[in-house]
Symmetry: C2
Subunit: 380 residues, 2 copies
């Protein structure tokens, strides 16, 4: 017997009821039966995004919707700003480059968050910037960006919009799109939405739609206008991933049943327990400023390659956590706790981490991590 | 109790074993367990495409790969040719237009196939044409195009490539890519591959790859070069739809076990029985020249709206067949028989069709369709 556990920041575990629903015979995407599903999904996506916008649905990974946020909102030569503080900020930058956008970057040391004044300065330096592309939570580092404050600045500017990659943030922490006046919010299915990868979402407010009207970049599959028009008739433009939409109905029901407020509290509690536990083991958190509640990035102990930790914990205990990417490969490991996670999942991963650290020769008081997690979760 | 049956040309029924596999807990796309799956899938896709090419895999509907076949192969202003003989030929044309391709069209009456001499003439008229975009089987009409003969013409030209949308043809009829020297073959998951929608595939030969090297159009998510490079290291570039890749492993095993030759024979037999049956009911086939073995398009009887047939057969008998699209809406209905279909499925749909036609007041000898299907399937 070999039980398996998924603690990577996407794909995340899928609730059993959603898996069961998705194993039912496939239905046709133009049949009335599907219409009812899509209608419910559209309504509940608005609840999740805390918006009145029609939330666009694409059959693709999150990157597809990110690309659409460039090709649908801008034209070649337009000025844009991206934050390079991790792999996904770099992706915004690269997509802009691919579409001949005049993109400038704020380079932020990995593991740190961009500051509000950095954004302010950049916008003052180049008043022509039409779009600011940021992450809410930079998945590669676990840093959380000051979305609310950045939205305040950008929403005050008539000719600039803010696009937030909330792929590992939506459904984890409170990001009320309408209240904060965020122009575009993007997410994917395989994170807090607890589904397999394969769906991407984008929610645009009226200001963002006015940018769509001006855009002259080529686009076809990720055509926001066409998708909106079609969704308003309760249809997808192209054959959607019916199976995932069926799963989406179930996970959105579960989120609604739990209530967003509780969902956020649960994630905060799990994140807090994880942080306390690894620190009690004498390990150092990678993100100092403001760690995301979606995942906890941790430095490997001195002299131990993080890759050894992720390898051993998987091979010996069937647990998948993530290593560091690019610049921090081998230096950090990342434990995700977003989506279908409860308190005993944290206890499990900390127990396994202790076992692995012991085997790799790291010196610490056994059980110290578990004790800290236990106290954080259930009170001292 | 209400049994449901899917006879639409995508999505098509999913084999139970694939549904069960896809209901297993999700695995991580960078874990060794996934690598083994991807390796097997890559090998078996080559078997399906009858090619030595690395078959690219995208998390999207088929249209995404179609778009990639424009954005990766051409540059703005390049000359291209598309065949407008149905909805999907129009899609090639529209994608080219979206990317500022100088595209010309051969307009073919819906329900008919483009002829080899039409292609020849078009290429002679405009020797600058770099890419010819065709369907193998035009899903909206059920017409089958002379792929082999068109490939002969195009492969003889040094500076022109042929791109075949084989979305409802691959795994239905014999389209040996390498033998016929087809430069690019595209397909999707929800047709003969018997999976839910959500994966698209493109297989490029060396000649096509040399076009990719010249292309200057913007692209990001559907970047063929990046995907190939990554696949050769047995990884996907972006988070793939792991669930569908797991299902893909199973359906490719089933196809290989049955053997392509038998798969083609089975489809030919089912298509033949369907055609014979509807004709025995006094109905007229929509495609005269060369109907596709993927689906049978049929004129509704005089005085009966095809929409009534599709509606009644669904509401009363739980059977989803397709109506006509765009120009032939209300005039034809389409019965698909591609993928996970056996002889008794044809018997079922013909039985239901007879029941519905009777109820709608059409005069015919009851059982005549069933008798014709039975004789076609099992011999007189």
């Amino acid at each position: 017997m070999r039980k398996k556990y998924l603690f990577a920041p996407g794909p995340t575990p899928v609730p059993e009821r959603a898996l069961a629903d998705m194993a039912l015979p496939i239905i046709h995407h133009r049949a009335p039966e599907y219409s009812a599903v899509l209608q419910e999904v559209r309504d509940n996506l608005k609840y999740l995004f805390q918006t009145k916008n029609e939330v666009l649905i694409f059959t693709s990974s999150g990157t597809g919707a990110m690309e659409g946020c460039v090709s649908n909102l801008l034209s070649a030569g337009d000025h844009a700003l991206a934050i390079r503080g991790g792999k996904f900020g770099e992706r915004w930058y690269d997509i802009c480059k691919a579409y001949s956008i005049n993109v400038s970057a704020i380079d932020v040391e990995w593991g740190h968050a961009v500051t509000v004044s950095q954004i302010k300065d950049a916008l003052e330096k180049d008043p022509e910037i039409k779009a600011v592309y940021i992450q809410a939570s930079e998945t590669s580092t676990g840093a959380f960006y000051p979305v609310k404050e950045i939205a305040e600045i950008v929403s005050a500017r008539e000719n600039t919009i803010l696009i937030v990659d909330a792929i590992t943030a939506l459904g984890v922490v409170d990001i009320p799109q309408d209240e904060w006046r965020i122009d575009v919010v993007v997410t994917g299915s395989q994170k807090a939405l607890m589904l397999p990868p394969g769906l991407a979402f984008a929610s645009l407010n009226d200001k963002a739609w006015s940018f769509v009207e001006q855009s002259s970049l080529p686009k076809y599959y990720f055509n926001f206008k066409k998708e909106k028009k079609s969704l308003e008739k309760n249809q997808n433009v192209y054959t959607p991933n019916v199976q995932l939409i069926i799963g989406l109905r179930e996970v959105l029901r579960e989120i609604k049943e739990e209530g967003l407020e509780h969902v956020f509290k649960r994630h905060a509690s799990l994140a807090n327990a994880t942080r306390k536990a690894v620190q009690a083991l004498g390990l150092k958190l990678y993100v100092v400023d403001k760690p995301s509640d979606a995942l906890t990035a941790v430095y490997a102990p001195y002299g131990i390659d993080a890759g050894k930790i992720t390898k051993l914990i998987r091979e010996k205990y069937g647990i998948t956590i993530a290593g560091g990417q690019d610049a921090v490969k081998g230096k950090i490991f990342r434990i995700a706790h977003l989506g279908y996670f409860g308190c005993f999942d944290i206890i499990t991963v900390i127990s396994a981490l202790e076992a692995v650290l012991k085997e790799l020769g790291y010196k610490f008081e056994q059980g110290a991590g578990l004790k800290a997690a236990q106290e954080a979760l259930f009170g001292k």
